[in-house]
Each structure stands twice: as C-alpha cells, then as structure tokens.
Symmetry: C2
Subunit: 250 residues, 2 copies
DNA sequence: CGCGCAATTGACTGCCCTCAAAAAGCGTGG
DNA sequence: CCACGCTTTTTGAGGGCAGTCAATTGCGCG
C-alpha cells in the first residue's frame, strides 16, 4: 500500500473527531452539556455515540423499540407522535436543534412514541446507561438533565392547557408564538421563519383539522397579523398574537 | 426533672420514627424508594423531611412558589392545575398515594402549577437538593427517579392524545379505566371506587363541561356499563369501557 | 324543614368538523 | 419551457357534537 495514504497517520484523536463532539457543537449552550466546564464536557464527549443522519420522513425510532439511546438533535426538526389503539395518531411535539428526544422511554425501557424527521436531520446518540454512570461524577450534568426532563413535563402541561381550554384561534396563536420564542432562543428571527411541518401536522398537534388551520391562516392574514407564503411565515404583530394566545386581546 | 420521663431514654431512633419513614410506609413499593435495599432506604429516610398534613381544599404549593421540596403522597388525593394568562384554569392531573408531586418545578426552580388536596391528605417532604446529593451514592434510587419523571411525561402524552383526538364518550371512558388501573395497582378494587373529584373537576381535566360529564354518566348508566351514586362508581362492564376508551368498541 | 350547593336534564346555539370541489405547488418528463 | 399528474392547500356549504343558558332535582347540613 502507498504509505502516503492518510491511513498511515491515524491518531485515535481523529476517530473521536469523527464522532460527535459537544464542545465543537453550536448547540452546547442549549443542549445537555449546558453549563459544563471543559473537562466535564470532554468526559461527556467520550460517551456520546456516533452522529447519525436521519433523512426527511424517516423514523429515528418507533414505538416499542427497546430504549438504548437518548438523542440530541444537532440539526433539523422532528415530530413525535403516538398512535392510539384505534389507529389514530396524535402528534405530541415538534422538536428542534438542541432538544432531547427519547426521555419518555426511560420509564418502560421501550420507546413510547414514534420520532420522525421533518427534514434531513442529524442527531447525536447518547447511550443512556453510560450517561447514568456519568451522573455520579458530574452533578452539574445530572442537575441539568433533570431540568431538561422537567422542562419536557411543563411543555406538555402547556399543551394540555392549550388542548383543554383554548379556542382554535387561541391555540394557533399560541403555537406560532411558541415557535417564535424557540427560534429566538437559537439566535434566529422570532418574527420570520419557515414552518417545517405541514398544515395537517399542525392541525393534528393542535387538535384541529387541516381545514381549520387553513382558515385560521387566511383569517390572520386578512387581519394583517401575519404574512404567509406556503410554509414561509412572518409574524407582523407579535404582541397582538401573544395577547391572542394569552386570551387577553379583548 | 423526673428521671422516669421518657426523655431519659432518647435514642435518636425515636426522633426518626416521628419523622417520615419509607421502610414503614405502605407505599414504598410504588413510591420513590421502590427497589431499594434496607440500608439505602435508611439513607433515604434520613433526608426525608417532616410529614405534612394537607387539609381538604388547601394548597400544598402554588404556582411561582420557590421550589424546595418534592412531595410524595402518603395518603389522600390531589389535583394539579395551571392558570392561564386569561385566568382560565386547566387541571393537568389527579394524583394519589405513592405518586410524586412537584417534578415540573425543577426546570425553573419555581412551581409551575397549584397543587390542591381533594380530601384530607398527607405528604412527605423530600428536599430536592439533598435528594440530588443522594443520587451520587445510590444509583438505583437515581434510576427509579428517572423512571418516575419519565412516567410523568408519558402520562401527559396520553392526556394529550385524549384531549386532541378523542370524542367526549371516549375521553370519559379512558378516564374511568385509568383510575381503575391505578386503584388496582394499589390493591384496591378496580371496578368499584369513589370519585374524589367533582363533576366540574372531571370536566375541566377532560376538556368538557360539567353538563357533558353529567350526560355521559347518565348515558353510560342507562347502557348498563356503570352504576353511579353520587361520587361512588362501579364499573359493570370494564372490558366494554376499555374498548370504548381505545376506540375499538364498534 | 329550609337553605345552599352540586348535579341533572332540557332546549337551543355555535364552533369546528365533514364533505366536496377548486386552486396552487411541485416534481417529472417531453 | 410547458404539459401532466399528484399532493397539499384553500375555500365553500352544511351538519353535528359539545357548549351555553336555564330550570329542576337531589343532597348535605344547620
């Protein structure tokens, strides 16, 4: 073999460079390693599994799959949904970069829902068993993990409030405002972004039909609160939308 | 002082007997100490704070209270509810003995909802800071805690499915079936129990009005699926109710 | 017995769903 | 570039499920 091939200089460092690295990841201020020092972050890097590309519309995991890994989203968007005994599906959340997938699987050691990529995406595998071992030596990591799980709980409580108490218009405004604040936290515009999900998926998540979503978009557009072109959306009156979401607009 | 007073034989053991004790608690197979050995359970006992009685209709904590303790329910029932910006309240769950309250507060260090006793109840205070210290030395405890948080997440995902996808009758059947299985897990009858909450509270939780709940009760009664007398309820056809909840009855 | 609150029942309304058709995107291939 | 087919979205008309409003009944308690 030709000794000039790069095969001949293989410090294991490169291997780990091919693997995921939290310190180099643009999401580390939002994701699991938030608040960790340099050395703790390296320990975390060592247990993080490979990066995995997840093409649009493919499943990261499906319900009842055995639970091995949590997944941190590096790039892209996902939806998680449950399928009821009667075959109906309910989307339980839309996730974006920096968020953690799979925490609902811990309780039964099997995934509790399907997770599908809404666009070509990329995740880091986090073997949960090894993560739990790390918790013993990095209390900061443990505490932040608890915050992330707790955050997931409050997120879903908010969704319950939305589904149980709000009228269609209010739900939709809350949905837009929620997306806006999450993009804002990631350094993107909070007033102008792309909807990564179809009208049908929005409707499913909000407990409404696709027709209702379409009508709501038309109405808000007519009222001058938003501008819409296909999946591109601009919030022209964020304050008004926030008030609408809070139910305090009148 | 009279040396015959019991003061003169004060092994600290008595003090801890006055405090909460997991090993002596009938709920320890369901609650936080599940699966712990004798010595680990004693370590847990040492950090558990006082028992606290919570009279009917009084608040264990309210939204925005600083987060100090988790609470394990020893006895009784609670409801947790959020109040939206518009002042509407949404019940996010009913909790019973062996369940943990307050996990939604970890993410922000403030409670995210109100927790009110539905009847005279009793809880154990669990100082969360000290619990986190224990996690480093009792991996079993940590793992079980994660399961309980994860369980809370799946519980709420199920509630989202219910609120987003089900018709009124299906929601109510799912509600009854859920209560039944939780009483069953606690060694009580799964077919005959007391509703600890009002019709109004049931309706609020299920995203329905009190009138709808009342009509549903009447209809299921007329169909011979249940027997009702005030808050006493008996499930006469649990299989049928399960099928109704699953949406597979026809 | 009478008061107050909770629950039930009935009549009617309205929000959102269902059904249906037209319009707009979007990828493919001529 | 346009034609074509397919999917997604929009728009319209009408219906139904659960909500609203209102009156009655039942139950606990002084």
């Amino acid at each position: 073999m030709n000794p000039t091939l790069s095969f001949s200089s293989p410090p294991p460092l490169n291997v780990s460079a091919l693997r995921a690295s939290c310190s180099a990841c643009s999401m580390h201020q939002l994701c699991l390693p938030m608040g960790l020092g340099e050395s703790d972050m390296q320990k975390l890097d060592q247990i993080i599994g490979r990066r995995r590309k997840v093409p649009k519309e493919s499943l990261l995991y499906r319900m009842d799959d055995p639970f091995i890994n949590l997944y941190a989203i590096r790039l892209g968007h996902f939806k998680t949904y449950q399928v009821s005994a009667g075959g109906e599906q309910q989307i339980t959340g839309f996730q974006m970069a920096g968020e953690l997938l799979g925490m609902d699987a811990i309780s039964t050691d099997r995934h509790h829902c399907d997770a599908m990529a809404l666009e070509d995406s990329e995740v880091c595998e986090i073997p949960f068993g090894r993560l739990e071992e790390l918790f013993g030596t990095i209390p900061t990591l443990l505490h932040h993990f608890h915050r992330m799980m707790s955050r997931e709980i409050t997120r879903e409580q908010n969704a319950m409030l939305l589904l149980g108490n709000m009228r269609a218009e209010q739900r939709f405004a809350a949905f837009l405002v929620n997306l806006a604040s999450r993009y804002s936290a990631r350094g993107y515009s909070s007033t102008s972004f792309q909807l990564r999900m179809s009208r049908e998926e929005i409707g499913n998540y909000l407990g409404l039909t696709i027709e209702s979503i379409s009508r709501l978009l038309s109405r808000l557009k007519k009222q001058g609160l938003i501008r819409v072109a296909n999946r591109e959306i601009e919030l022209l009156e964020p304050d008004h939308l926030r008030a609408m979401a809070a139910g305090t607009e009148h």
